[in-house]
C-alpha cells in the first residue's frame, strides 16, 4: 500500500543568475566544453569511480549524456544542446560555448532582460538572413557531381574529433569510406521524392582502422560453426527470400482470455510442429532459397529446410528487420498458414565473409540502397567515438543533400559573421532598431557582446597558447603558433586561414582577435576559382550550424529571462 505523504514545500529563488553558485557552475560547464572544442581539443575521461565503463571523448553528445547536472538552469542548457545534437548531430560544442559566452557577456552589461532579449533576437535574425543570402561571404555551394567538397566536409568532421585517434592516412581512408557508404544509400533511379537507404555500422573492434570497409547489402554475424553448416548455393538467378516476423519455434500462439483445456494425450507441440512442417513444404514448393526469421526457428523445421537445400537463419533481431525488408523487397510474414506469393523477395547472391575474427553471412542485393560499414578501431572507447563520428558525418551528408551549401570552417565563418554584424550595427543601426524602444547605445553594447561571444567561440579553438588573428579584408581567422617570434612579419608566420581558402601571400592586414578594431566590411561573394582550386578546405554543415546558432541564442535568451527558480524538493 502506498503511503500518502505531505508534499514538501518547494525552494524558490529569485534572480538565479546573479548568485555565485550559478555563476561558478556555468563557468565550470563552459570550461569543460571550451577545452574540448576543435581538432586540438582536449579529451575528457568520464567514469563513475566504481569501475566499469570509461568513456574518453571530446564530443558534446557523449559528454553531455554522461554528465549529471543538478542545477535547473544547467539542465535547461544541456537539454537544449542535447536536443540540438540529436536532431542535427553536429555543432553541439559550438552551441554550448556560444550560449555560455552570450550569458556571461550579457550579464556583465547589466541591461534589462527585455532589451537584451529583443536585441539578441534582432542580431540573430541578422545573422540568419545573412547566412542564407546570396551575398554571404562564408558559404560555398556543394557540388554533388564531384567528391571534393563532400570529402572536405567529412574530413573536417573527423579531424575535429581527436578522441577517434586517427592518423592522417586513416582519416583519409575513413572519410572516403563514409562518403562511399553515403553514396550507396542514394537510390540510382530516383525520380521526385528520394527515399534514402541506410548504412549499417558493423562493429569490428581491435582491428586496424585501415581494415575498415564498406560493402553493399547486409552482413549478419554468425559463429563459424553455424556458417560451416550452411550449404553453398549454386544458382545463377536471384535467390528467393522469405522473411518471417512471427516466431517459428512452435509455441502456441495467444489463446485469448479464456481457458483452453487440453485433453490427456493431446500434444499441442506435435500439432504445431505439423503445422510448421506444412509451412516448410509450402516454402519448398514455392522454391524459396533463403528463409530468414526475426525470432527462433524450430530445430526440426530448420533441419527440414536444410535437407531441402534451403538456408534458414533465425534470431535476426528487430533492428535488421527494416533494412532487410527494404533490401529484399519482401513483406514480413506473420502467418504460419498460407503465404501470399507476393510476400517473397529476392537477393542477388549470398556469400560468407570473414573479417578479423568475426564471421558474417553476407546478403548481396540486386540494387543497393542498404550498405554495411565495417568499422574498425583499436579499442572500445576509440571505436565508440569513431562510430559516433561516422554517424555524425553520415547525418551531415544527408543534411547537406537537402540544403546543398557548406559553411567555411576552422572559425572563419564566426569571425566573418562577427565582422559583418559589427559593420552592420555601426553603419546602419536604424534598419535593425526600426520601431523598437531600444537606443543605439544599447544596440552597440549588445552587438559587441554578441560578436565577442562569437569570437571567443573560435578563440577556444586554440588550446596550445597560440595567438588568433583576423584579417581586415575577408574577416577570416588566422592562427600563430605559441613559440613564434614577435610581430615582425605576419605573412611569413601565417600560411593559411582557418578554413584554408586564403593564403598569406595576398596583401592583407591582420590584427589580434582580442584587440579592438574599427568596423570594416568583410568581403562577401567568394571567388569561384578559389573554391574550385582549393582541395583541402575545412567546412561545416550549414544546416547544423544555423540551427546551433539559433538554439544558442534562444537558450541564452531563455536563461537570461529567468526571474525565479522553483525547485520541487519532493
Amino acid at each position: 500500500m502506498s503511503r500518502l505523504e505531505a508534499k514538501k514545500p518547494s525552494l524558490c529563488k529569485s534572480e538565479p543568475l546573479t548568485t555565485e553558485r550559478v555563476r561558478t557552475t556555468l563557468s565550470v560547464l563552459k570550461r569543460i566544453v571550451t577545452s574540448c572544442y576543435g581538432p586540438s581539443g582536449r579529451l575528457k575521461q568520464l567514469h563513475n569511480g566504481f569501475g566499469g565503463y570509461v568513456c574518453t571523448t571530446s564530443q558534446s553528445s557523449a559528454l553531455l549524456s554522461h554528465l549529471l547536472v543538478t542545477h535547473p538552469i544547467l539542465k535547461i542548457l544541456t537539454a537544449s544542446i542535447q536536443n540540438h545534437v540529436s536532431s542535427f548531430s553536429d555543432c553541439g560544442l559550438f552551441t554550448a560555448i556560444l550560449c555560455c559566452n552570450l550569458i556571461e557577456n550579457v550579464q556583465r552589461l547589466g541591461l534589462t532582460p527585455t532589451t537584451v532579449i529583443r536585441l539578441n533576437k534582432h542580431l540573430l535574425s541578422l545573422c540568419i538572413s545573412y547566412l542564407k543570402s546570396e551575398t554571404c561571404g562564408c558559404r560555398i555551394p556543394v557540388d554533388f557531381s564531384s567528391t571534393q567538397i563532400l570529402l572536405c566536409l567529412v574530413r573536417s568532421i573527423l579531424t575535429s574529433k581527436p578522441a577517434c585517434m586517427l592518423t592522417r592516412k586513416e582519416t583519409e581512408h575513413v572519410s572516403a569510406l563514409i562518403l562511399r557508404a553515403f553514396l550507396l544509400t542514394i537510390p540510382e533511379n530516383a525520380e521526385g521524392h528520394i527515399i534514402l537507404g541506410k548504412s549499417l555500422i558493423v562493429p569490428l573492434k581491435g582491428q586496424r582502422v585501415i581494415d575498415s570497409t564498406v560493402l553493399p547489402g547486409i552482413l549478419i554475424e554468425m559463429s563459424e560453426v553455424q556458417l560451416m553448416r550452411l550449404l553453398p548455393i549454386k544458382k545463377s538467378t536471384a535467390l528467393k527470400v522469405a522473411l518471417f516476423c512471427t516466431t517459428l519455434s512452435g509455441d502456441t500462439s495467444d489463446t485469448g482470455e479464456g481457458t483452453v483445456v487440453v485433453s490427456y494425450g493431446v500434444s499441442l507441440e506435435n500439432a504445431v510442429l505439423d503445422q510448421l512442417l506444412n509451412l516448410g513444404r509450402q516454402l519448398i514448393s514455392d522454391h524459396v532459397d533463403l528463409v530468414l526469421c526475426q525470432k527462433v526457428i524450430h530445430p526440426s523445421l530448420k533441419q527440414f529446410l536444410n535437407m531441402h537445400r534451403i538456408i534458414a537463419i533465425d534470431r535476426i533481431g528487430v533492428t535488421l528487420m527494416e533494412p532487410l525488408t527494404k533490401m529484399t523487397g519482401t513483406q514480413p510474414i506473420g502467418s504460419l498458414g498460407s503465404i501470399c506469393p507476393n510476400s517473397y523477395g529476392s537477393v542477388k547472391d549470398v556469400c560468407t565473409a570473414k573479417f578479423g575474427s568475426k564471421h558474417f553471412f553476407h546478403l548481396i542485393p540486386n540494387e543497393a540502397t542498404i550498405c554495411s560499414l565495417l568499422l574498425c578501431n583499436r579499442n572500445d572507447t576509440a571505436w565508440d567515438e569513431l562510430k559516433l563520428t561516422c554517424q555524425t558525418a553520415l547525418h551531415v551528408l544527408q543534411l547537406t543533400l537537402k540544403e546543398p551549401w557548406a559553411l567555411l570552417g576552422g572559425g572563419c565563418t564566426e569571425t566573418h559573421l562577427a565582422a559583418y554584424i559589427r559593420h552592420k550595427t555601426h553603419n546602419d543601426p536604424e534598419s535593425i532598431l526600426k520601431d523598437d524602444e531600444c537606443t543605439q547605445t544599447e544596440l552597440q553594447l549588445i552587438a559587441e557582446a554578441f560578436c565577442s561571444a562569437l569570437e571567443s567561440v573560435v578563440g577556444s579553438l586554440e588550446h596550445d597558447g597560440g595567438e588568433i588573428l583576423t584579417d581586415m579584408k575577408y574577416g577570416h581567422l588566422w592562427s600563430v603558433q605559441a613559440d613564434s617570434p614577435c610581430v615582425a612579419n605576419w605573412p611569413d608566420l601565417l600560411s593559411q586561414c582557418g578554413c584554408g581558402l586564403y593564403n598569406s601571400q595576398e596583401e592583407l592586414n591582420w590584427s589580434f582577435l582580442r584587440s579592438t578594431r574599427r568596423p570594416f566590411v568583410p568581403q562577401s561573394c567568394l571567388p569561384h576559382e578559389a573554391v574550385g582550386s582549393a582541395s583541402n578546405l575545412t567546412l561545416d554543415c550549414l544546416t547544423a550550424k544555423l540551427s546551433g546558432l539559433q538554439v544558442a541564442v534562444e537558450t541564452a535568451n531563455l536563461i537570461l529571462d529567468l526571474s525565479y527558480v522553483i525547485e520541487d524538493k519532493n
Binding site: 500518502l4 505531505a6 514538501k8 514545500p9 518547494s10 529569485s14 535547473p72 538552469i73 535547461i76 537539454a79 537544449s80 536536443n83 540540438h84 545534437v85 540529436s86 536532431s87 527585455t114 532579449i117 529583443r118 539578441n120 516476423c245 512471427t246 500462439s253 489463446t255 485469448g256 482470455e257 479464456g258 481457458t259 483452453v260 483445456v261 485433453s263 493431446v266 500434444s267 499441442l268 500439432a271 505439423d274 503445422q275 513483406q331 514480413p332 506473420g334 502467418s335 504460419l336 498458414g337 501470399c340 507476393n342 510476400s343 540551427s547 538554439v551 534562444e554 537558450t555 531563455l558 529571462d561 529567468l562 526571474s563 525565479y564 527558480v565 522553483i566 525547485e567 520541487d568 519532493n570
Partner: protein
C-alpha cells in the same frame, strides 16, 4: 493529548501570505514579465509564466496559502487566464482591509479590551465585511458592469448578429494574452500561430462546439518536437498521431478507414469461456479456421476499399501480415483519447468483425483524404487527412523548441488561450439590484450597447444621426396592451446639437410614473435594423418585466433629452437596449446580459474604468458598509495597472495614464490606450468574482488549527488515543 496548534486567522496573516505570493507572480505579469523555471520531482525542468502552475509548483504549506492556491486553480480551470492578476488583486484587497483595521485601532480600545477579545471582535467585523463583499458581488457588481461599463465595451465580432470573427481583433486579443504567458521573444509568433490555427479549424458556421472539441482534445492535437528553433513551429492540415504505422502501404484514390477496438483475429476462447481441445486435429483445424477467418476479414475490408486500419489495441502478427498483403496500412495502440478524437471528427463508430460473413457493405467506414507518414526531426508520425463531419476542420499544431520545458509552456499557453476564447464566446447573464430612490435620473438608465468595431475608431465626420422618435407611441401601446398597461409616452425627443466627438452615446431618460409601484418593470428598447439609405430608426419598446402585476395601472413615461448618437459605420448593426426600471421605493431586480465577445483594450482599462465607476457609486451609497467595500475594491483594482506600468516612465507612467483616463471619463471623451491589444471582459469579470469569493472565504475563517498528524485517511487506534 491535543497535538494541534491554533493560530488566529486574520487579515494580517492572509496579507502576509498574499504578499509573498504577489512578489513571485508580479515578476512575470504583463508584457514585461519574465520567466520562472520550475523543476518537477522527476527532475524535469519546466519554464512557465502561468501563474497557476507557479503557485502549484511552490507546494505551499501555509493553510491560507493553500486555500488561495485552490481558489486560483478552480478559477483557472474555468477561464484559463488571470492567475497572476488574481493574486495581485487579492493582495491589494487585503491591504485595503488591513489599512482599515489599523486606522480603527485607537489606543483606548487597546487598553480596555484584552487582545483575545479584540480578536473576536475583529472576527465578527470581518464577518460583516465578508457579507458586504458577497452582497456587492452578487447584487451590485453586475449592475455597474451593465449600466456603466458596458458602454465602453468593444466587440471581437465584426458583425454582432452573425458573430463573424474579426481577424484583426482576434489577433490583438491573442497577442495581449500571449504577452503575459510566453517568453517575450516568442509571443508574437505564438499568437500568430494560434490565430492561424483558429481560422483554419473553424468553418463559418462553427460555434461553441468546436471550442469544446479542441479544448477537450488539445493534447492530441499538438505534437512537440524538441531540438528545433521555436520558429519552426507550424500548423499542419490533417491530424498528426504520435505513432508510427506498424504496417504502411502507400495508397491513393478512394480510401476508406475503419476503427477497431479489439483484435480482428478471432481467439480460441474469450474471457469466461472454456475451450476444450480433444485432439490434435481439432487444434489444427481451429488454427486453420482462425487464419482463414482473419484472411477473409482483411480481404473483405480490402474489397470495401479500406486502406487504413486504426486500432486501439495491438493486433497480432497475422492481422498485420494480411493487412500488408491486402494493401491496408495499420496504426495500432492508439490511446482512448486519440480514438475518441477521431471518432468525434468523423463521426464513426468502431468496426466489429462480422460473425456471419456476407458480401454486404461494411457500415462503419469513413473516407480519408490521405494517410501517410510524416517525418519530424527523424521521427515518424502518422499523418491523416480526415474528412470532418462536424464543424471542426482537423489541423494539428507542431510545436518546436530547444527544450521540452519551453514546448510545454507554449502548449499550456495555447490551451489557456483556447479556454479564454471559449469563455469569451459565451453570453453572460447579469442579475443585479438597483436602489433607485432618487428621482433626478442621475443614474443613467438608458444603456446603449453597441457591439461593433465602430467603437475603436469613431469617425467624427461620419454618422452622427439624430432622429426624433416620433412614431413610438403606437408601437409602445401595441407592446404594452397585452399586459393591459397604459403607457403614455411623450415622445418629444429633444435632440440638442450633440458634439460629434461624443464618444459614447449616452442618454438619460427619466421616468416619471404617476403612481408608485411595488413592482418592477424593465423596458427594453431595441432598435431594429438600421436602414442604411434612410437612416431611419424604428425603436420597439418591449415590456419584459418579471414579477409583473400592473394590471390596471398607468405608467407614464416621458423621455427627456433622449439623444441617440449613431457612430456606427455603414452597414453595421446597432442594437439599442433600454432598461427603464421603475422609480419605486423598493429595490428592483434587473436582469440583462452581456453579449458574447466583449473586449476592452489592454493596459488596465477595465480596472481603471471599474475603479472610476465604483468611486462614483460609492459617493451615492448611503450605507457605510457598502461604501467602504466599494472603495476598497475600487482602490484595490488600481493595483493591477500599477504593476503593469511599473517599468514605464514619463508620459506613460501610471499616474499620467490614470489622470488622463479619469479626465477622459469625466469629459465623456474616448479613452486612449497607449498599448495595442484587447482583453476579454468576460475573463476580467469572472476574475473579479472569483477573487471576491476567495476573499469572503478568507474573512470568514477565524482560526486556523494545525493538526499534527499524517494526512492519512485511515483511522487507526493511535490517533484516537492521542485525541
Amino acid at each position: 493529548m491535543l497535538s494541534s496548534m491554533a493560530a488566529a486567522g486574520s487579515v494580517k496573516a492572509a496579507l502576509q501570505v498574499a504578499e509573498v505570493l504577489e512578489a513571485i507572480v508580479s515578476c512575470c505579469v504583463g508584457p514585461e514579465g519574465r520567466q520562472v523555471l520550475c523543476t518537477k520531482p522527476t527532475g524535469e525542468v519546466l519554464l512557465s509564466r502561468n501563474g497557476g502552475r507557479l503557485l502549484e509548483a511552490l507546494h505551499l504549506e501555509h493553510p491560507i496559502a493553500r486555500m488561495i492556491v485552490d481558489c486560483v486553480s478552480s478559477h483557472l480551470k474555468k477561464t484559463g487566464d488571470g492567475a497572476k492578476t488574481f493574486i495581485i488583486f487579492l493582495c491589494h484587497l487585503l491591504r485595503g482591509l488591513h489599512a482599515i483595521t489599523d486606522r480603527e485601532k485607537d489606543p483606548l480600545m487597546c487598553e480596555n479590551i484584552q487582545t483575545h477579545g479584540r480578536h473576536w471582535k475583529n472576527c465578527s467585523r470581518w464577518k460583516f465585511i465578508s457579507q458586504a463583499l458577497l452582497t456587492f458581488q452578487t447584487q451590485i457588481l453586475d449592475g455597474i458592469m451593465d449600466q456603466y461599463l458596458s458602454r465602453h465595451f468593444l466587440s471581437i465580432f465584426s458583425s454582432a448578429k452573425e458573430r463573424t470573427l474579426c481577424r484583426s481583433s482576434l489577433e490583438l486579443l491573442l497577442e495581449a494574452y500571449f504577452c503575459g504567458r510566453v517568453g517575450r521573444n516568442n509571443h508574437k509568433f505564438i499568437s500568430q500561430l494560434m490565430c492561424d490555427y483558429f481560422f483554419k479549424c473553424m468553418t463559418c458556421k462553427s460555434g461553441i462546439g468546436v471550442f469544446e472539441l479542441v479544448d477537450d482534445h488539445f493534447v492530441e492535437l499538438n505534437v512537440g518536437v524538441t531540438g528545433l528553433p521555436v520558429s519552426d513551429s507550424r500548423i499542419i492540415a490533417g491530424l498528426v498521431l504520435q505513432k508510427d504505422f506498424s504496417v504502411y502501404r502507400p495508397a491513393d484514390g478512394d480510401m476508406r478507414m475503419v476503427i477497431v477496438t479489439e483484435t480482428i483475429q478471432p481467439l480460441f476462447s474469450t474471457s469466461g469461456s472454456e475451450f476444450i481441445l480433444n485432439s490434435e486435429a481439432q487444434f489444427q483445424t481451429s488454427q486453420f479456421w482462425i487464419m482463414e477467418k482473419t484472411k477473409a476479414i482483411m480481404k473483405h475490408l480490402h474489397s470495401q476499399n479500406v486502406k487504413l486500419l486504426i486500432s486501439s489495441v495491438k493486433q497480432p502478427d497475422l492481422v498485420s501480415y494480411y493487412a500488408g498483403v491486402n494493401g491496408i496500412s495499420v496504426v495500432e495502440c492508439l490511446s482512448s483519447e486519440e480514438v475518441s478524437l477521431i471518432r468525434r471528427i468523423i463521426g464513426l463508430s468502431p468496426f466489429v468483425p462480422p460473425q456471419a460473413f456476407s458480401q454486404c457493405e461494411i457500415p462503419n467506414t469513413a473516407l480519408v483524404k490521405f494517410c501517410k507518414p510524416l517525418i519530424l526531426r527523424s521521427k515518424r508520425y502518422v499523418h491523416l487527412g480526415l474528412i470532418s463531419t462536424c464543424a471542426f476542420i482537423p489541423h494539428s499544431i507542431v510545436l518546436c523548441g530547444p527544450v521540452h520545458g519551453l514546448i510545454e509552456q507554449h502548449e499550456d499557453a495555447l490551451h489557456g488561450a483556447l479556454k479564454m476564447l471559449r469563455q469569451l464566446f459565451k453570453d453572460l447573464d447579469l442579475n443585479y439590484m438597483t436602489q433607485t430612490n432618487d428621482q433626478n435620473g442621475t443614474s443613467s438608465l438608458f444603456i446603449y450597447k453597441n457591439s461593433g468595431e465602430s467603437y475603436q475608431a469613431p469617425d467624427p465626420g461620419n454618422g452622427s444621426i439624430q432622429r426624433p422618435y416620433q412614431d413610438t407611441v403606437a408601437e409602445n401601446k401595441d407592446a404594452l396592451e397585452k399586459t393591459q398597461t397604459y403607457l403614455k409616452v411623450h415622445s418629444n425627443l429633444v435632440i440638442p446639437d450633440v458634439e460629434l466627438e461624443t464618444y459614447i452615446p449616452y442618454s438619460t431618460p427619466t421616468l416619471t410614473p404617476t403612481d408608485t409601484f411595488q413592482t418592477v418593470e424593465t423596458l427594453t428598447c431595441l432598435s431594429l435594423e438600421r436602414n442604411r439609405l434612410t437612416d431611419y430608426y424604428e425603436p420597439l419598446l418591449k415590456n419584459n418585466s418579471t414579477a409583473y402585476s400592473t394590471r390596471g395601472n398607468r405608467i407614464e413615461i416621458s423621455y427627456e433629452n433622449l439623444q441617440v448618437t449613431n457612430i456606427t459605420r455603414k452597414g453595421s448593426m446597432l442594437p439599442v437596449s433600454c432598461k427603464l426600471p421603475n422609480m419605486g421605493t423598493s429595490q428592483s431586480y434587473l436582469s440583462s446580459s452581456m453579449p458574447a465577445g466583449c473586449v476592452l483594450p489592454v493596459g488596465g482599462n477595465f480596472e481603471i474604468l471599474l475603479h472610476y465607476y465604483l468611486l462614483n457609486y460609492a459617493k451615492k451609497c448611503h450605507q457605510s458598509e457598502e461604501t467602504m467595500v466599494s472603495m476598497i475594491i475600487a482602490n484595490a483594482l488600481l493595483g493591477i495597472p500599477k504593476v503593469l506600468y511599473k517599468s514605464k516612465t514619463g508620459k506613460y507612467s501610471f499616474p499620467h495614464t490614470y489622470i488622463r483616463a479619469v479626465h477622459a471619463l469625466q469629459t465623456n471623451q474616448p479613452l486612449v490606450s497607449s498599448q495595442t491589444g484587447l482583453e476579454s471582459v468576460m475573463g476580467k469579470y469572472q476574475l473579479l468574482t472569483s477573487v471576491l469569493q476567495c476573499l469572503t472565504k478568507i474573512l470568514t475563517i477565524d482560526m486556523v488549527i494545525t493538526v499534527k498528524r499524517h494526512p492519512q485517511k485511515v483511522h487507526n487506534q493511535d490517533s484516537e488515543d492521542e485525541l
